[in-house]
């Protein structure tokens, strides 16, 4: 739009096309029988559906369209191609207004340009390029530009049906029915943040709009009649339920919702955490966290169709599916999160010279080859590509395609790929590319392997340098090595390494779990933990990161570091190493390095215990990476600031207990014992301070290999073994005692009275492991994962409500009720929640406070008028500076994109930003919940006087205690902004009264340049001429562009007017008392300050989110109307000031409750009599106004306006002088009244210099 062809009507030229109308050009039939052509030019057609004309047809077609998702917008613009008969649809819209705007934009921008071009091909190209660039720029990041046309149209329907931010992306949509009072067939839209439903059945519209963050539970259900498993029940936080059925892809829908709610929960947790980023250095001011959606947005080179060479976005849904698949892939093979599944193929593996063949699947990611075989003889191989020395393609007789791989350890592995040859070729191609990228990693392999004890063991020199091994090498390992059969276990492992590879290249075959379960030998324990948990890969792929973290943050302090310091002496204090500096230092290093790496988590008590235990077997660096895997993958959310993971797993444990041991579960409920009081510490510290160390390490062995399900199995087994005694315990005290005693006896024989010596040798720990694996076999990783998914929403919401309660406890609520505080809290965090997403997830240390942007959305969520349209988030325009709106205005006028809409936005934002500054008592630029509460309380629970004061102060930009001319205008603009959604137009007259009265009541400052006020008045009269002119101009314009012309014109007019104003010295000043009088002079304004403004904040009643489209349309005209009025009145002062004054006086004398009025009563009675003669006029004027203003909104506004401005025009000479004279006499009277009231002190002072 930057290179416009010259237009015949520059005033009407649309600088900005309407949003969301233009789409990527899509071929369509221009002779569609369902469409009427409204307008046409040589190249373009404007069409409307026939449906929109007839009510019946509309309802009927609407239903059909709704059911079949063929819903088309009623208006569309087509580009007539000259190459063939087919047309290209370039825009569509729901309303006549927006399509008209688009149409005129098209006319302005294309018609002339197209005349220049001759070649139809060229024409088409030019138009299409332009439209595409427009669409991709305007709707960047939305699905409107997705390559999938279906998603695009659904996205458009979604956006137009529901009032969401333009940045909101639709993920997927499904046909389904909603069970309200009746069953409604319609469409479910799932976007990043919302779950929506829309149906339109025979004229009845059903709209459901749910925030994903408020979903409390999701359940798969059978449909109401119980036949088909095709329904989903959604339970909201507030227990409201929604039932959707007829979902053809129920499971897919469910999974999608679960995935999205999970992502939402993660963000929510970050949002409501009790403390923020405790691990952040005290000096750091910010840190950017990964946006959960960032992985999804990838620009594909959309060369798939000749009509869409513009960059397109892949449907978000695909991105989410990929993300999910990658997550599963990473979990299955314990891979770092940087790995993505790139290729997979069915394959057969043969190792070395062995004859065993494993049939399974081979996967490839950026740096790994992963093979899994789940048959009778299971095996898993995770082979880092950087350990591969050579790959050969074998031309064997049997296999079509085989890869012969030689590893670093001289081990030969053969993969036979089963599949079409092309697929195998592709697989190999990717492998080749990936291998090339691994060269650097290959170089660091040798030093890395030197830190692996298995290498030393195989080289028969088990004497690794002390620095790179666990504390156990120096301070001895816990337990008696003989009793632990350390030697024979080591021997078994040696053999295993020889057969199946070691460390990075080890294949886990059937004997592997057995070797793990008997307990690991001391010196190998650390390394095998690494190999099992996958931390080995992290360590080998990130050499040096650990030392770097420590070095980079040396000398810095953080809350976490202080917490760590407190606990260093309190971690396994009975182990020798931790009574010496060596152990303490290592512990400090590992814990601080982790706190620096993950400042959001920082440090949690229990991590010290786990880490100190790990450090016995692992070196610092090993322990650091193992801690990473623990916190991120194995125990997600356990040590986070909300500890939601730990709470979640406790809920799951309770659930499992109920399923597996219902009697015990019932008993515990009966005697009111909470399972978690005993079990939570087990999970948090991995049994390390519950069981004797030797046994805790045995549990750890299994845990690192098999994951968190082991914790459940062992916990359940403990409860089972002690079942009888637990059933006898009557309170939590007894319950705890039973368990504590049991842990003390793990060493004892399980069957001391048995005659069989073998049975006698079995310890209680052996028994425990047996029970855990035999009786609780059903607790699989999959089950745990599923249960976590099912329970997470509830747990997160419980944490949320707990956080809310404890935060609200510390807030001074003022006069707000509990319920109101609850709403304020919710809105506050909601604004933060969505605000953070908008800004790409930037988290600051003071993240629990609103900045100026989130404050706008916060205010918008409780007050209708504060909903500033955010078509494009042009935040540059809005900064909480002290600059006047005029500055913004002038900036706007110089830039070419100034429109009324933007101007209104600036006024609104400016008003809100001043409110922000007012709320921000300590001037930090951020609002805490307390500040917001206090600020709102002042407004809502203040009285008429305080609110007037508030407005006065807010608009007194230079803080001189008076309002200048500009400031008064600013005030009126703010009022217009606030009133803009009000029905009717009584407010317009109120504001015009306000301006009139304001200039009248304001004290004139003698300007050296001006001879008299009169002169100034005449001088100011000029802009009204402008207005008149533009109005004439306007009436000439075509209906289609009228609205926009008007907008443009009024903007220009008001800008001119501004220039006039600001060119002069400020010649009026209004003090607070006169402001009060002006307000009290007008019933509507008085009402507004008395109750209207405070009641505009809706805390308990729901705020109407879905503003009608109509309201938006009339708004534009209302605003321009209002501004025109303001401009003209401000310019040619008061052709009807008489009425204004009289109404003021009668108002104040009528004795409102204000103190001002009560003191002035005596004086005003005299005034009243003097002006009583004009009261009849006043009435007439007022009724006139009432009649005139509705007209101004209609087409025949000329008439009304002309009448209105007639006085101005004709009476500029004598009439005006007459008026002014009258005005002045009254003003004198008025001034006298003021003097009597003793209100002049401020103005006198201002006058004197």
């Amino acid at each position: 739009m930057q290179s416009p062809p010259s237009s015949s009507r520059p005033m009407a030229y649309h600088l900005k096309p309407p949003p969301h109308v233009f789409i990527l050009p899509t071929p369509c039939d221009q002779n569609n029988p369902l469409f009427d052509t409204l307008k046409s030019t040589e190249n373009f057609l404007l069409q409307r559906t026939k449906a929109s004309k007839s009510q019946f047809l509309n309802s009927f077609l609407g239903t059909i369209q709704n059911v079949f998702d063929t819903k088309q917008a009623p208006f569309r613009i087509l580009f007539r191609r000259q190459i063939d008969a087919q047309a290209l649809m370039i825009g569509e819209a729901e309303t006549q207004k927006s399509i008209d705007q688009a149409w005129s934009w098209v006319q302005d921008n294309f018609v002339i340009g197209l005349q220049v071009l001759d070649d139809p091909q060229e024409k088409e190209e030019w138009v299409l390029t332009k439209i595409r660039s427009l669409v991709t720029r305007a709707d960047k990041g939305t699905d409107d530009i997705t390559s999938d046309e279906k998603v695009r149209s659904a996205s458009r329907a979604f956006r137009q049906t529901f009032n969401v931010l333009p940045s909101e992306r639709l993920v997927s949509y499904y046909s389904c029915s909603y069970h309200g009072r009746v069953m409604n067939q319609g469409w479910m839209y799932i976007s990043e943040n919302y779950l929506c439903f829309y149906s339109f059945m025979l004229g009845m519209e059903t709209k459901i709009f749910l925030e994903l963050k408020d979903i409390g539970d999701l359940q798969k259900e059978k449909s109401k009649r119980g036949v088909f498993a095709d329904a989903i029940r959604v339970v909201m936080k507030d227990s409201q339920e929604y039932f959707f059925s007829n979902l053809f892809h129920r499971d897919e829908t469910y999974d999608m919702l679960v995935q999205l709610t999970t992502l939402t929960m993660e963000r929510l947790l970050r949002n409501t955490a009790l403390e923020h980023a405790p691990g952040m250095s005290n000096g750091d001011d910010g840190e950017t966290i990964k946006d959960v959606f960032s992985v999804d947005v990838e620009n594909l080179d959309g060369n798939d169709s000749p009509h869409s060479p513009a960059p397109t976005t892949r449907p978000l849904r695909l991105g989410l599916e990929e993300q999910k698949r990658d997550n599963q892939f990473q979990l299955r093979f314990n891979l770092p999160t940087s790995e993505h599944m790139m290729e997979d193929s069915s394959a057969t593996m043969v190792q070395g010279d062995k004859t065993d063949m494993f049939h399974g699947r081979l996967y490839m990611s950026e740096s790994f080859l992963c093979f899994i075989c789940v048959e009778a003889d299971p095996c898993i191989l995770v082979l880092p590509l950087y350990t591969i020395r050579r790959v050969e393609r074998m031309n064997s007789r049997t296999a079509m395609y085989a890869l012969n791989i030689l590893t670093w350890h001289q081990m030969r592995i053969v993969f036979r790929l089963n599949g079409p040859i092309t697929q195998c070729e592709k697989f190999c191609g990717t492998l080749k590319t990936n291998l090339k990228l691994q060269v650097r990693a290959m170089r660091s392999l040798k030093p890395f392997l030197a830190t692996c004890f298995s290498e030393a063991l195989l080289a028969d020199r088990p004497d690794v340098a002390e620095k790179d091994s666990g504390l156990g090498w120096i301070f001895e390992f816990p337990g008696d090595p003989k009793k632990l059969k350390n030697k024979s276990k080591t021997k078994l492992w040696l053999q295993y390494f020889k057969d199946n590879g070691r460390n990075l290249t080890m294949t886990k075959v059937a004997t592997f779990p057995k070797l793990i379960r008997v307990g690991l030998p001391n010196k190998l324990r650390g390394e095998i933990w690494e190999a099992c948990s996958g931390s080995l890969y992290l360590r080998s792929m990130n050499p040096g990161e650990y030392t770097r973290l420590l070095k980079d943050n040396e000398g810095k302090m953080s809350l976490s570091l202080e917490e760590i310091e407190k606990d260093l002496n309190r971690s396994l204090p009975e182990y020798q190493a931790y009574q010496a500096n060596q152990g303490i230092n290592r512990l400090r290093n590992v814990l601080s390095a982790y706190a620096w790496k993950n400042p959001d988590l920082g440090y949690c008590q229990a991590m010290n215990i786990v880490t100190s235990a790990i450090l016995i077997y692992q070196s610092e660096e090993q322990a650091f990476w193992t801690l990473n895997v623990l916190c991120d993958r194995l125990l997600p959310g356990y040590y986070s600031t909300s500890m939601y993971g730990a709470l979640l797993d406790q809920t799951i444990l309770e659930h499992l207990l109920e399923k597996t041991m219902p009697i015990l579960s019932k008993h515990l409920k009966k005697v009111d014992v909470q399972l978690s009081v005993a079990c939570l510490p087990w999970f948090l510290s991995l049994f390390i301070n519950s069981m004797p160390l030797v046994y805790a390490f045995r549990v750890l062995d299994c845990f690192f290999f098999e994951g968190p399900k082991v914790l459940f199995q062992i916990s359940l087994a403990i409860l089972k073994v002690n079942g009888d005694e637990l059933l006898a315990s009557k309170d939590d005290g007894a319950f705890m005692d039973v368990l504590k005693k049991y842990f003390g006896t793990l060493d004892d024989s399980a069957f001391p009275n048995s005659t069989n010596p073998k049975a006698r040798a079995l310890t209680k720990f052996n028994e425990l492991m047996l029970v855990a694996y035999k009786e609780f076999e059903s607790v699989t990783p999959e089950l745990v994962a599923e249960l976590r998914r099912n329970h997470q929403l509830k747990v997160v919401h419980n944490i949320g409500s707990f956080t809310k309660r404890s935060q609200l406890r510390n807030i001074t609520p003022g006069k707000f009720s509990k319920d109101e505080m609850s709403v304020i809290y919710d809105r506050f965090y909601s604004a933060l929640f969505y605000g953070r997403q908008q800004r790409g997830g930037s988290v600051k240390q003071e993240a629990r406070a609103l900045d100026s942007n989130t404050f706008v959305s916060f205010l918008g969520s409780i007050a209708h008028w504060a909903q500033v349209e955010d078509d494009q988030m042009d935040n540059d325009d809005f900064r909480p500076t002290n600059g006047s709106p005029q500055q913004h205005r002038r900036r706007g006028s110089t830039s070419t994109t100034s429109t009324t809409r933007e101007r209104r936005k600036i006024v609104g934002r400016h008003f809100i930003s001043r409110l922000f500054e007012r709320f921000d008592q300590n001037g930090t630029g951020l609002l805490s919940l307390q500040e917001v509460t206090t600020g709102l309380g002042d407004i809502i629970h203040g009285d008429l006087m305080t609110r007037m004061q508030l407005f006065f102060d807010m608009h007194d930009l230079n803080k001189d205690g008076t309002l200048s001319r500009d400031e008064i205008l600013g005030m009126s603009e703010s009022l217009l902004f606030i009133f803009r959604f009000d029905d009717g137009d009584s407010y317009l007259s109120a504001i015009s009264n306000f301006i009139r009265n304001a200039f009248e009541f304001a004290e004139k400052v003698e300007s050296p340049k001006k001879g008299s006020d009169e002169e100034a008045l005449i001088d100011l009269g000029n802009p009204s001429e402008e207005d008149k002119e533009t109005k004439d101009d306007e009436s000439d314009n075509s209906a289609a562009s009228e609205r926009s012309v008007q907008e443009t014109d009024t903007t220009t007019a008001s800008e001119k007017e501004d220039t006039v104003t600001t060119a002069d010295e400020p010649e009026i000043q209004m003090s607070l008392p006169s402001f009060r009088m002006v307000v009290l002079a007008d019933e509507a304004l008085e009402k507004f300050f008395d109750s209207g403004f405070s009641s505009s904040f809706k805390l308990l009643e729901p705020l109407d989110r879905q503003r009608g489209l109509f309201a938006r349309e009339v708004f534009d005209s209302l605003l321009s109307e209002g501004r025109k009025l303001a401009g003209s009145i401000a310019g040619g002062i008061q052709n009807r000031n008489r009425s204004a004054v009289s109404s003021t006086v009668s108002k104040s004398s009528s004795g409102s409750t204000s103190t001002l009025a009560s003191t002035s009563t005596s004086n005003n009675t005299t005034l009243d009599t003097s002006t009583s003669s004009s009261s009849a006029d006043t009435k007439r004027d007022q009724t006139n106004e009432g009649e005139e203003h509705p007209n101004t909104n209609e087409d025949d506004e000329d008439e009304g306006d002309d009448e209105f401005f007639d006085d101005d025009e004709d009476g500029e000479g004598d009439d005006l002088l007459d008026e002014v004279e009258k005005f002045l006499t009254e003003f004198d009277l008025e001034g006298g009244a003021k003097k009597d009231l003793g209100l002049t002190s401020a103005t006198d002072a201002a006058d004197s210099p």
């Binding site: 008590q605 909300s642 309770e654």
Partner: protein, 263 residues
């Protein structure tokens, strides 16, 4: 951590013993566990492992003709464990809120605990405010309140002392940051018992528990069916307090944590 031997079996002496559930709350490393350990075993460990979740100990003590069995829940102090606390203080008849006299911030935390207890816990709960670690401050300087500017410095110093004071206890005299009068005035205002203790030398520890025992309406507990639950007005309430909407004292509807699995 061992405990009083006779406290283990619920059958032993239970005819006479009145069970009192007591919970310890307070900022991390103010000495909650040490206080309990002193009371229960009359011993002191320089480096006590931090409490994870909560530790449970029991101790009997004799008051006039009655035997009182304290069931003590010693909770974790770190801020993030806060959300677990309701699990432990529900049904408690007594609470000891501990702060560190050498650390002003710990009193603030204690105040917020008191606030929470008074709103969320058993309404008849007896709360004792206890300033611990008085052994660290020399009596001569007692009562001097430090300015805020110095607070950070003192915290550092304090940390060092805690770490090292096994070796050079005498060399360090840590500045007191919470004046006795200040805390006592607050306690009086909030209706709390007030003590200053030293878990290290045992000063005032037993007193805390006996005074609490005196203040608890033992008769009331005895007369009810289950001693340990008597004061628990909330006893019939939800299991995990997290799930109770504290503002209204209602359960969140439909949020049963049991059997809601969709599998």
């Amino acid at each position: 951590m061992s405990q009083a031997n006779d406290a283990a079996g619920p059958a032993a002496n239970s005819m006479k013993a009145v069970q009192v559930k007591l919970v310890l709350l307070g900022e991390a490393a103010v000495g909650k566990s040490s206080l309990v350990l002193r009371f229960v075993n009359d011993e002191f460990q320089e480096n006590k492992e931090p409490t994870i979740g909560a530790a449970f100990l029991t101790q009997k003590c004799r008051l006039e003709d009655k035997v009182i069995k304290f069931e003590i829940w010693d909770t974790a102090g770190q801020e993030r464990f806060h959300s677990l606390a309701p699990m432990y203080y529900r049904n408690a008849q007594a609470a000891v809120v501990v702060y560190d006299v050498t650390k002003a911030s710990s009193l603030e935390k204690a105040k917020s605990w008191v606030k929470e207890l008074q709103r969320q816990a058993n309404p008849n709960i007896v709360i004792a405010l206890t300033g611990n670690k008085v052994d660290l401050v020399s009596t001569g300087r007692k009562g001097r309140r430090q300015g805020d500017g110095e607070a950070d410095e003192d915290e550092q110093e304090d940390d060092d002392t805690v770490d090292d004071d096994e070796e050079d206890d005498e060399d360090y005299a840590v500045t007191r940051q919470v004046a006795t009068e200040e805390a006592s005035a607050y306690a009086q205002e909030a209706g709390l018992l007030f003590f200053e203790t030293s878990a290290k030398n045992g000063l005032g520890v037993a007193e805390v528990f006996t005074e609490i025992a005196k203040k608890i309406p033992l008769e009331h507990i005895l007369s009810s069916s289950r001693g340990g639950r008597a004061g628990g007005i909330n006893g019939s309430n939800g299991r995990v307090d997290l799930q109770r909407d504290g503002a209204n004292g209602q359960r969140l509807g439909g949020q049963q944590d049991k059997g809601a699995c969709a599998c």
